[in-house]
């Protein structure tokens, strides 16, 4: 009956390769790289990454790349360049007279030297990335390094996601519904998931994005909530997070890769780290479409699902959970009051079963049929609870 006016209209199949945005987050925590210095110095790792990025750009001329550094006390863009207000006159024009729109087009305030032997986009990206990385390292003070041994991964992920969301929205998708656009109150900024017809994937021809985290630091527990928020946002936007772990404790990044369907690999030995470029090219280069046909590396491993407690930021595998706000604590609370929601929690029966576990089903499930006669139906004789 819905053949005439229902929404299934044939969408012309296009077999052009969809553009792909690769966002790389490099953990540039100086403490961790100092430990790796004799086997894999940062410069060597960046050189391998540049080859990898060039390979990604070479696959499809519409492919894009973005690189963010997750440094010890801030997260910075390496490519494209973030323009600081200091370089800009009060009216928005650049100090050296160039218009800043012009500057955006060329990827940054720096122009690569003319070299006839290098594909210009490669040269430009390499030049900008190295310039920004050097600038960031030079502006890192000893105080900053001493004060925070961690890395700003949550910030880097959030900035990457904001960028991905904007790039996805600015690229028109062929299958996205035009019926609900800006008037649609609950459409996501990426427009990726809630189309009128749930059977079609919205980003069939749009930008397919993925994030690669090159991680060296361990301790991420103090940003547990923020990192988890980023992971769930990635999952909603169907952006896989690939993780290449060079050192450190894997807990939350492993969860990130598992939840979003990305690839997780850990290069813990120095021989493995020596083959960084090979790992990058063979495990991380293919995009989502290609991955459907391949066996992903690292699939045969378990996943560490431990959580961080809210009170001490310890990583725990058994925790005490407030039944009202679901905060996790690593030890029974001294005065029985939840530190977050303030509810008074009974301590006597904390071994009690919470309700999240569904009860065993006794009845067999029946599907409603067209007539509705043989379905469990309530007539006047509905079972009345007391």
């Amino acid at each position: 009956m819905n053949a005439i006016d229902a929404t299934d209209r044939a969408v012309a199949e296009q077999d052009i390769e969809p553009p792909s945005l690769l966002t790389i987050i490099i953990d540039t925590n100086p403490h961790a790289w100092a430990l790796l210095d004799d086997t894999l110095p940062l410069t060597k790792a960046v050189a391998s990454l540049l080859v990898f990025i060039n390979a990604h750009l070479a696959i499809n001329y519409t492919n894009q790349v973005a690189v963010i550094a997750s440094h010890s006390e801030r997260a910075e863009w390496l490519y494209p360049t973030d323009v600081h207000p200091d370089n800009v006159q009060s009216n928005g024009a650049l100090a050296n007279g160039r218009d800043y729109e012009d500057l955006m087009d060329r990827g940054g305030p720096v122009q690569p030297p003319d070299d006839a032997n290098k594909y210009r986009p490669f040269a430009q990206l390499e030049h900008t990335l190295m310039y920004n990385l050097r600038k960031m390292m030079n502006t890192t003070t000893t105080d900053a390094i001493n004060s925070s041994p961690a890395t700003m991964l949550a910030g880097a992920l959030t900035r990457a996601l904001a960028y991905i969301s904007k790039q996805t929205a600015s690229l028109p998708t062929a299958t996205s519904s035009t019926q609900f656009n800006y008037s649609d109150p609950s459409a996501m900024a990426g427009g990726n998931e809630l189309t009128t017809d749930p059977t079609k994937s919205a980003n069939a021809l749009g930008l397919s994005s993925r994030i690669l985290i090159v991680s060296v630091s361990g301790d991420l527990a103090d940003r547990y909530i923020e990192i988890m928020n980023c992971i769930f946002a990635c999952q909603r936007m169907s952006v896989p997070i690939d993780v290449l772990k060079l050192a450190g404790d894997p807990v939350f990044l492993q969860q990130a890769a598992d939840t979003t369907g990305g690839i997780y690999m850990s290069l813990s030995t120095s021989t493995a780290r020596a083959g960084l470029l090979q790992y990058l090219m063979f495990a991380y280069l293919m995009d989502q479409t290609a991955r459907n046909h391949l066996i992903a590396p690292g699939e045969g491993e378990g996943v560490d699902f431990r959580a961080a407690c809210f009170c001490h930021k310890r990583v725990v595998d058994i925790g005490f959970v407030c039944s009202i706000c679901l905060s996790i604590f690593c030890e029974p609370l001294p005065d029985g009051t939840c530190l977050l929601c303030g509810s008074h929690l009974s301590m006597t029966n904390y071994g009690r079963k919470p309700v999240v576990v569904p009860k065993k089903k006794v009845k067999k499930k029946k599907r409603p049929t067209e007539s509705g006669t043989d379905t469990p139906a309530s007539g006047a004789g509905t079972p009345m609870p007391g």
Partner: protein, 459 residues
């Protein structure tokens, strides 16, 4: 089967009472569908004219402003962390009566409802991963079961897809539906919420007995009922919702059009705010510190027996306390009785505990002072800041004044500032950060923010 207890509003003496329930926008709506359709058409037509009249000078500025204001309107919500019912038990009751064959919602009410319900199920489990959902239908005076209470979205979606091929028939019965919902929710533990959401297309209810008894029973069982009407306000629906929600009249709404319908359905996926009476009740008997294990997933070379079913499996989850192997989470360890849960299930609700604060509009003066030229999140360039002297005379004046006239809620400089980190963002990042990622890119990117040492946005 006796005829309905429900009555039309409109003619009845209760008209004023009912009209008070609806809010401003819907007040204009008449009770009969024919007139309602006309009102809707008139509303769109008149709003188009308003837009054109306002657009003297720069149309883009006004349109852009309206668009931004619309996006922001739903962002500017109260961000004080509220206690929310995060463990929910919801029963969705769909109208499968002949009224759903109407085509005022395209393609038909029935098909649109199924499509929206599938989206609703996905979003519900996205927002409430440890909650339970069940779906019932009302057809030919009976309440029928479409899917059982379960925490698996795929069960519900499969059942809903089957429903597409069936034809709506007969009359709905609110009383039968509520009684059946009550029976289904009766055994749910009392520290979760008990909610019934009814989508009602018909303007009648064909009930076997006195529905007021059922309403009283629902109140006794702490069941909260929400109704989304597709046609017009009905007095009995307003009464059911008001009485089961402690006098709050915001739980019964009539969808004006497709967009509104979807919005109302999606609103339900946000965990409900707990009322003080609920909180009291919970504090007295249920709130507890629960010990839970967060087991890790293992993959084994050779299959071994699982402790829960005795099946041979190659992998599963090892209990954090006794190392027994279970195949699925959430589960109770069969050996030591510890509750095992995936920590990612709990973490999904944390953005309700630490909501991101609203960002504020940035005036030209403030923008000039900061000199921001691109969005901190996505690097999109902002519109140029006009010079102070240019703003007084010449061409820049027009741009500036047109921008100042932008709709309420939109920022004149198209910049939005996070007051914690002082960074400026574009409207898209504002929406994205508050709706999807729940983090501020600025706050997370700087370890040395004043007064932000504890690491939380809300801090």
């Amino acid at each position: 089967m006796a005829d309905s207890d429900a009555e039309y509003d409109g003619e009845g003496p209760d008209e004023d009472d009912v009209m008070e329930v609806s809010d401003g926008g819907r007040r204009a709506m008449a009770s009969r569908p024919k007139e309602r359709a006309q009102a809707r058409w008139e509303a769109t037509a008149s709003s188009n004219w308003e837009l054109q009249e306002a657009a003297d000078g720069s149309i883009e500025g006004i349109l852009g402003g309206l668009e931004e204001a619309g996006k922001r309107k739903r962002l500017l919500k109260d961000t004080t962390p509220l206690q929310r019912g995060i463990i929910r038990h919801t029963l969705l009751v769909l109208d499968l009566s002949s009224a759903m064959l109407e085509k005022d919602l395209r393609p038909t009410r029935h098909l649109l409802t199924i499509n929206y319900t599938i989206m609703f199920v996905r979003e519900y489990f996205e927002q409430n991963p440890i909650s339970q959902l069940g779906i019932f239908g009302m057809r030919e005076g009976l309440a029928i079961r479409i899917s059982d209470m379960s925490g698996n979205p795929n069960d519900h979606i499969a059942a809903l897809k089957q429903l597409r091929s069936t034809e709506p028939k007969g009359n709905p019965s609110l009383q039968n539906a509520l009684d059946m919902a009550r029976a289904a929710l009766y055994h749910t533990p009392s520290h979760g919420t008990r909610e019934v959401v009814i989508v009602l297309g018909a303007l009648l209810s064909s009930d076997p007995g006195d529905i007021h008894d059922t309403i009283k029973a629902c109140i006794r069982d702490r069941i909260r009922v929400r109704i989304i009407g597709l046609a017009a306000q009905m007095h009995i629906c307003a009464e059911i919702c008001r009485k089961t929600n402690g006098g709050d009249e915001n739980y019964y709404n009539v969808a004006v059009d497709e967009v509104d319908y979807r919005q109302q359905l999606m609103d339900i996926t946000t965990p409900p705010v707990l009322r003080s009476t609920d909180t009291e009740a919970q504090k007295h008997n249920q709130a507890a510190l629960l010990m839970m294990g967060f087991p890790s997933r293992i993959v084994e070379e050779k299959p071994t027996l699982c402790a829960c079913h005795g099946n041979l499996t190659r992998g599963g989850y090892l209990c954090s306390r006794c190392k027994a192997k279970v195949c699925n989470l959430p589960a109770t360890c069969p050996t030591c009785d510890l509750t095992l849960i995936l920590s990612t299930h709990l973490a999904r609700s944390y953005h309700h505990l630490f909501p991101l604060r609203n960002w504020v509009e940035v005036s030209w003066t403030r923008a000039r002072q900061e000199g921001s030229i691109q969005c901190f999140g996505c690097l999109t360039p902002f519109p140029r800041i006009p010079n102070p002297q240019e703003a007084v005379n010449g061409t820049e004046h027009d741009v500036a004044s047109a921008r100042t006239k932008r709709a309420e809620g939109a920022s004149e400089s198209s910049r939005y500032e996070c007051e914690t980190c002082g960074q400026h963002f574009c409207i898209d990042c504002d929406v994205f950060c508050h709706e999807v990622v729940h983090n501020c890119p600025g706050c997370q990117s700087n370890a040395h923010l004043p007064g932000n040492q504890n690491g939380h946005d809300a801090g």
